[in-house]
């Protein structure tokens, strides 16, 4: 792939042109290069600040003075991007915690479970908050850079959606492996269980025909646990489904016409034209409109009445 860089030629010519242009502006003061720099700055109406670093005449020194700060929604979008990074880091931690919990160990895996639950909860929270903030993004800001905002939204939405899908997938593989582990040694899957170790205790109890008190308590506790776990799972599935539904509206389907650059340029042009037409139509109807005429007639009538009233007062 051949390319050719013409920047050197360009810069040389640009500097040559500048040095030709500058003497037109230089005033009585000064000597040499730096003053010419400042003078040309003054000449271009950019700023009246003298203490510019004139060693580096690049645009970076001008940016601070030209138009300055980016709009506020950029901060929001940057924060969402930062959140996504954090979520990714947490996800990596979650993977490690999953792996650790799956490893056979002698101790009670309660801490592992808590850690996993906490991490999962945190990640889901981050995703939900980011999604809300993303929705807010479209509301704020001016109309001019609405396209930029929309595109920023889309790109962040895609990232968020990918993260949620990844999270779901990791959760389901973890659950599956957990079940396999339990099924393996037991041969019978008694309950869908996030806290793996507890059920192994119950297994032995069921071999008896009758249940005694202790066993009943244990069974009840087991059932409650099971309910709780099911509820948790349902809740997390619901949350994630909600997130995905919201995001999927924003995300572009790859391979379709919406993903084509030329199609997007066309639609922008069309909508801008349409907007202009609507505005013009509105202006016309407003001008022609009965409202304006009525209002003028009424004002004139009021005026006439006022004049008549004054006349009446004067005459009588």
């Amino acid at each position: 792939m051949a390319t050719r860089n013409r920047t050197v030629v360009y810069r040389r010519h640009r500097d040559a042109v500048k040095s030709v242009r500058a003497p037109l502006f230089s005033s009585a003061s000064g000597s040499g290069g730096p003053v010419i720099e400042m003078a040309s700055l003054l000449g271009s109406n950019r700023s009246s600040y003298a203490p510019l670093s004139t060693e580096d005449p690049g645009p970076s020194s001008r940016d601070a003075f030209t138009v300055g700060l980016p709009p506020s929604w950029v901060d929001d979008s940057e924060q969402v991007a930062a959140n996504i990074q954090r979520a990714r880091a947490k996800m990596a931690e979650l993977v490690k915690a999953h792996a650790k919990a799956l490893m056979p160990s002698f101790e009670d895996g309660k801490e592992d479970q808590h850690l996993i639950e906490a991490l999962t909860q945190e990640i889901t929270d981050i995703l939900r908050r980011s999604e809300k903030r993303l929705q807010k993004l479209s509301a704020s800001g001016s109309a001019e850079d609405s396209n930029v905002r929309k595109n920023v939204q889309r790109s962040l939405a895609t990232d968020l959606q990918n993260l949620s899908v990844e999270l779901r997938r990791k959760q389901s593989t973890y659950l599956k492996r957990l079940q396999q582990q339990k099924e393996g040694p037991d041969g019978v899957d008694l309950e869908m269980n996030l806290n793996g170790n507890k059920s192994s205790l119950e297994d032995d109890e069921f071999s008896d025909v009758g249940f005694n008190e202790q066993q009943m308590v244990k069974i009840k506790k087991g059932q409650q646990e099971r309910e709780r776990e099911i509820n948790q799972v349902v809740q997390s599935v619901n949350e994630l489904a909600q997130i995905m539904k919201d995001l999927s509206v924003l995300v572009i389907d790859q391979g379709t016409i919406v993903d084509r650059i030329d199609y997007n340029i066309q639609t922008v042009a069309v909508s801008v034209d349409e907007g202009l037409k609507q505005l013009q139509k509105a202006e016309r109807t407003q001008k022609k409109g009965g409202m304006v005429r009525c209002a003028t007639v009424l004002v004139i009538m009021c005026f006439i009445m006022l004049v008549l009233l004054i006349l009446k007062e004067i005459l009588f």
Binding site: V74, S172, I257, V258, I261, D262
Partner: protein, 568 residues
Amino acid sequence: MVLVSAVRDYINRMLQDISGMKVLILDSHTVSVVSVGYSQSELLQKEVFLVELVDSISKSKESMSHLKAVYFLRPTSENIQHLRRQLASPRFGEYHLFFSNILKDTQIHNLADSDEQEVVQQIQEFYVDFVAIDPYHFTLNMPSNHIYMLPAVVDTSNLPHFCDRVVDGIASIFLSLKRRPIIRYQRTSDIAKRIAQETARLMYQQESGLFDFRRMEVSPLLLVIDRRDDPVAPLLNQWTYQAMVHELIGIQDNKVDLRNIGKLPKDQQEVVLSSEQDAFFKANMYENFGDIGMNIKRLVDEFQQISKSNQSIQTIEDMAKFVDNYPDYRKMHGNVSKHVTLVTEMSKIVEERKLMLVSQTEQELACNGGQVAAFEAVKNILNNESVSDIDRLRLVMLYALRYEKESPVQLMQLFNKLASRSAKYKPGLVQFVLKQAGVDKRTGDFFGNRDLLNIARNMARGLKGVENVYTQHQPLLFQTMESISKGRLRDVDYPYVGNHFQQGRPQEVVIFIVGGTTYEESRSVALQNARNSGIRFILGGSVVLNSKRFLKDLEEAQRMARSSTVVV
């Protein structure tokens, strides 16, 4: 792979070193160049959050200095003017300028003059000046394509412009492949000769430093030929998927516009047919209509099975699985409806225009012999009321191109019949085509009735019978490629430019058809490349033709030729 990946590499390089939020500014040509190889979602990943056209961007006054502007334009004078105005009052923080072809020094100076604020960070030449529609097929999307048909005396102003654009396009192909070719051209075509010579001058004299790449053992070959050497290929009706869609509906930059076809849901009004992104299309783009029907039915069955399983959601696990698979499901749904819509629409057109009947006659005209039988068949079709004007015209043209010299009386009869029935087509268009591409003007022997070997081959084929009567035609390009593969392309017909010479067979060949390529020919090239014979062919043209476009070019050229003779 080759061309599309070149485009993607260039664009990646453009965007990778510039950090932060960017806006990409293109012109009407580079929009096509970029859109076929890069998608909007990929741009978003590279933090390009706005794409605009260079001529419309000047209307807005708002300054967005938090964005960095990446311009990718063709180095034309209009673009330079636009740029100058925009540099004088810059809206963006930084400006990075990329041009798709060689800049003249005066253009650089003009830009430097206007850049008072010194916002331009870099100016580079990135040589992507062609639209890579398929891995081995490119086009230049030239607007006034018909100019190539006019001799130089008729239209002196536009012809150099045309030739320059073609030379620029060809040069950028070789610069992106980093090779410098040996150039051959078709002897009988003046414009091919002119383009070949100008390309040689550019590559070997004017910019020889730029083109001085590492020499391999065997140089690649550039072959410049004229569309009029094979006027039959664009006139025939097509029956393989990609070519058929273009012939009956029309493909532009891998997009199909279905807006004037009845009531379609909003997301199906314009669809994308790209072998890079659509696996079903990639597998079926060169298959014929009957096989496509079966494959689509299989696709629909698969899809129905999946949607049925999606509807029976009973447990939490089912729900979770559904949520996981939803994006894929949606994509598949869109894809299936797209193909079903296309095939339905094409079947409707085939039915309306009686294309089975017409095409059979066309293929016999193009492939088999028998002047008397051909005459009868064409006459019958002309008498058939339900055949459309364009199909009648095509048939008469094909007949005329084949049996130009035999039995002129019968040819006259057909002309009269055509003129009496078809109000739309101006008389004399067929004679014009004969003047442009008649038997005397043609080098190649695509009717297979010139040299002995071809006649024998035809007879053998006739005896053996054909697999599919609708796809018997092989474009002349196929024979040309075979000759090149065997190293037997005749010097007499296709001379070398200057003192180039090539021993043995080239390993890379770029064939440029002045006047336009067809999808049938690109299919030929793709199938040839798939045979892995050690030679890689790339095909390109000024446009991609279908019969409508070819006829339009003929009409335009005829109109200009006529109006100029009036003046002269």
